[in-house]
Subunit: 379 residues, 4 copies
Amino acid sequence: MERIRLGMVGGGKDAFIGGVHRIAARMDGQFDLVAGALSSTPERSVESGQALGLAADRCYGSYEAMAEAEAARPDGIQAVSIVTPNHMHAGPAITFLKRGIHVICDKPLAATMEQADELAAAIRAAKSLFILTHNYTGYPMVRQAREMVLAGDLGTLRVVQVEYPQDWLTEATETSGTNKQAEWRTDPARSGAGGSIGDIGTHAHNLACFVTGLQVESLAADLQSFVPGRRVDDNAHILLRFAGGARGMLWSSQVAPGNENALRLRVYGEKGGLEWAQEDPNYLWLTPFGEPKRLITRAGNGAGTGANSVSRTPGGHPEGYLEAFANLYSEAAEAIRVAGTGQKPDPGLLPGIDAGMAGMRFIDAALRSSRANAVWVTL
Amino acid sequence: MERIRLGMVGGGKDAFIGGVHRIAARMDGQFDLVAGALSSTPERSVESGQALGLAADRCYGSYEAMAEAEAARPDGIQAVSIVTPNHMHAGPAITFLKRGIHVICDKPLAATMEQADELAAAIRAAKSLFILTHNYTGYPMVRQAREMVLAGDLGTLRVVQVEYPQDWLTEATETSGTNKQAEWRTDPARSGAGGSIGDIGTHAHNLACFVTGLQVESLAADLQSFVPGRRVDDNAHILLRFAGGARGMLWSSQVAPGNENALRLRVYGEKGGLEWAQEDPNYLWLTPFGEPKRLITRAGNGAGTGANSVSRTPGGHPEGYLEAFANLYSEAAEAIRVAGTGQKPDPGLLPGIDAGMAGMRFIDAALRSSRANAVWVTL
Amino acid sequence: MERIRLGMVGGGKDAFIGGVHRIAARMDGQFDLVAGALSSTPERSVESGQALGLAADRCYGSYEAMAEAEAARPDGIQAVSIVTPNHMHAGPAITFLKRGIHVICDKPLAATMEQADELAAAIRAAKSLFILTHNYTGYPMVRQAREMVLAGDLGTLRVVQVEYPQDWLTEATETSGTNKQAEWRTDPARSGAGGSIGDIGTHAHNLACFVTGLQVESLAADLQSFVPGRRVDDNAHILLRFAGGARGMLWSSQVAPGNENALRLRVYGEKGGLEWAQEDPNYLWLTPFGEPKRLITRAGNGAGTGANSVSRTPGGHPEGYLEAFANLYSEAAEAIRVAGTGQKPDPGLLPGIDAGMAGMRFIDAALRSSRANAVWVTL
Amino acid sequence: MERIRLGMVGGGKDAFIGGVHRIAARMDGQFDLVAGALSSTPERSVESGQALGLAADRCYGSYEAMAEAEAARPDGIQAVSIVTPNHMHAGPAITFLKRGIHVICDKPLAATMEQADELAAAIRAAKSLFILTHNYTGYPMVRQAREMVLAGDLGTLRVVQVEYPQDWLTEATETSGTNKQAEWRTDPARSGAGGSIGDIGTHAHNLACFVTGLQVESLAADLQSFVPGRRVDDNAHILLRFAGGARGMLWSSQVAPGNENALRLRVYGEKGGLEWAQEDPNYLWLTPFGEPKRLITRAGNGAGTGANSVSRTPGGHPEGYLEAFANLYSEAAEAIRVAGTGQKPDPGLLPGIDAGMAGMRFIDAALRSSRANAVWVTL
């Protein structure tokens, strides 16, 4: 089976998520990275590209040049990964979609609602696929959780507790001059108006919706910027109301010392509960009401088809963040291959424009609610 | 040293907290239970009292009778524990205070704000002590946490996350006819208008304030009664704003399957964080920003004076709920002995009317906020 | 119900376990401590006794004097707790048994096999009860574990892993002049020839036998004294062979930094496994082969009669070391009351001379095996 | 940078570890799998190879054919991964080494000591590299642990506790006819005379030696075959004596229900301890004597150069088994590239023939000791 030819926009030096996408694309041998517009200057783009083994003539100085040239090549890229800061998602995505190239885009969808709407329109008009890497949905035990909820194991859902605390912005790192990640992620022009809510709150929101199958109907948000001078929120406390009557709380923070990437979801229904934590992702607690708690392990006892089909090793061999990310790439590969035959692929559980727009509405609602002193805002 | 002569109001058959108070009073050999108005009928009161080894003539049919008779005896009770449902706290407490008998009262202070105000007035007028058993403040590692926060180990506080989920009211247990605890705790007439917020939310609120030394200034609450027919809230989502600028979230629930008594507090400041969980109470996580997490153990490495002085055994010998409760009784005994000498005792960390009124204002504010769709209400 | 009149031998200043016995005796209101020979000199014995509220004339200068005087009083002690160093167990125990006074004795049974044999003979000849406080058997979840094993939930047992690491003797604390506990516990004349194996290895051995219902048939031991100058072992590695074919390993250590009192038992059979850890005693893992792991909690879902009958509070209210210890005292009280009626009490699960002798044989076999370079020695 | 051309022996259908090697080889983009003798019949080898995207003419029916043909091609493989059952390690390895092809071989080294000796001789004679995938040494926190021990953070080592329990052979799975893994791993002809000790005991032994920098000098082993009819041990209890005076225990088991892949190492020295568990590999406990326990996280606070250089993502993004495995492949790639320049590569921490022979001596000694009733056997 031929590997899918992949390009990349962004992901040069000082980037974090680009390297993750490359490993994810490589892990299951489904993609070959063959072209890139990796940095914002042609020189650095070539430098970054050659360090990755790209041919010099496929290291482009801009995504527009890459789209044009690759679309013209018989061996041009079939798909592109967009791993730039948020304000540079929509532009490239639209450009490649117009060229008939499938797009795999990092989240959130865009920096502004306007960009998001424009992108959504382009996706509707395109024949190519658009995949948004809400990567936590790729974890086997997240799949397991979703499967159990949808099977009714928890009964009608009542309470959703989701949180994503980090600590890396506890101090004013963005002014240190040495942390590019902190710089753009706290810059509204590049990141969007949301800080923690855009960067990680959207992950929490997406995870809660993915697992429960529910949509957030309205929210009341109290956002804070604890670090003096910070231009975006670095902590957010949000009350949630889901369609159907479930209620929830969402906490995102970048100023909670001791927390690295502590995304955690707890869901409770009439018949039982579930708990999953990203930092210990091979475990899922199932708590049927009135029975002992059960610990379900990845590819172990109690794990079902949905989880096992995205596992690579037997239970007890911990799989992690990169494997979860790679699961989205492998599912994308499958969809891309189907699309290549002219058929319309079933996206399955792959996040796309719907998840992306839901995330944008979440950010927007949280910002509006908080500005109005935490009034309820409908999404 | 003579033991303090103790009476008890409530705590007969089918009671839960009365037995806890008795063990707590006994553990350090500071009290002797010698009288009781244990049940609501004279016959059952005698029956319950004799099962506990009380003399028949000191098993009273009403608290009024007990107060009168005991006050008249030369060997009458010096203190009384009030362990009745919430609506029966204020009346007995006022009665005994007027008789010059020290009062140790279960929380919350009362079922209504009116009762609470009346009791507060009586306490101000009385010479006797009033102690409210916010028992979680008696845990050594809670003392440790407070000591560290007040010493500035965390820097200025920013974020407080506190929660108290349980699952015992996941179903409509109060209608089963076999669960007296569920009956009165979901009956507004006996429990007060707050359900989960009064029963356990107040514990969460109190713990957060005790450890941080901060007061909740305002809150926005979204309360739910998930179980059909339930007359009080069984789940509560609350946004908190503390005096001084810290923000927080509070979750209380009685419908979260898999949670027994999962009170948990996390506090984050500019310099570090703390985490403590009631079900694993001998551990305290300290997370100084930029350093490895540290696990401080009760009476172990890193534990300070405040924690060690309320520990009974070396580290690694788990102490629990009853020991924490007993710590309040022992501190009460010390205060009562000082009061017996005619001096005014230093209440130290013993919760009293201030904590009680703060709890009542918390419940009241949460109810008012929720009725107004989670608007901010000042406490 | 009258409280049982209790005396105590040992447990004065600088003692650890005496205070534990006193709390345990007090917790359920079944005993009153009324007499004591608490220290090795009359003056200090009186001083210690009065600090505990004993009448001066019942603070004795020797256990012999106490036995004689108390046996002669109409209100004399009915039972005595012996909480002295190991070499002072047998003498007092025999003396009190001869006087018809029930004996509750700390473990191990004695410092030497000769003392143990002599005590065993005295017990056989006596009408009074002899109870050995192998206190870890009092934990509800240990009872639960035993119940499940005996019910066959694990099938035929195969593997037993038990360990009891501590770290308090990592350095030569016994030479510091400030740690009486370290002094006598590393002194062969007072502690017996076994160091870690006598002090904590016996607990591990006892726990394994109690839960599995099996006896150790033979062992091969490799003992070490890592701290220069130490006269007894401070670390022990032992292979176990149980009657019936199960095999095991036992590790005891006092030089394992980071371990406080980390007694842990794991048992595996043909059908499943169990795991319990003393420092987190309210949890028991059950791992049926081929099914998800289950976490059974004290007084919670999955807990049975044996565990619940020794629980004082609902699930989620952690009970600990003192409660487990108190369970033995309460069961002792029950047996003493039955004996008081002239009937022969059923000791139930109370450890007595059999457990004590098994422990002594364990220590003796371990020492002999290790001296012979870890050859197999039959118990 | 050109990818290294890789071949594979073994790893066809029903294989487990072959797929792991392929992912590990792919993850960092250093290798291209271009040839294979994947199965024991030519037809199945072609079938397996083509499913992996190999060209038909590079899917060989035997490793001899592959070695000959690939050595003759200008674009022939530079390295080969040997992922066959143990008895098929030495033959292929020797063949490829003789052809000047680097060998990456799964552990243990061989099924018999004779094969091992023969292979060792071939390695000494060869110019090519020989790398043995003791994959657990690739975990960042294992590197961290080793670095700390060697830096003296624990002081002189005293006690090593290592264990590797699993449960997958609790029943006689090898007779089910449906589990090829169980079949060969319990077949002495293919696996070697050691069962659990060869399959996983060697991992435990290797990990202990890797982290401590110590060699096992002698051991006393008690092996069991609990499952009736099983031809190799499925549980092993081993006492260890290390050069320099440290002592240890090693437990391996395939019949411990509830354990998946629960390799765990604890090391204690005069100044502190360390604890690491394979199933939660991103955490390392450091327990300096007299200080609070510290939790060091992968790429987080407290992690050093050795760990961070084999990490791909920031802390809190769990990396697992495949990443650890891939670390060995990446280090192998680096060594292979150096060798390609004609220089002698520094193997760094890559396990090779020394670790392999140590493992074989460990298995051999354990078998001999156990047959002689657990006498001490020198390695």
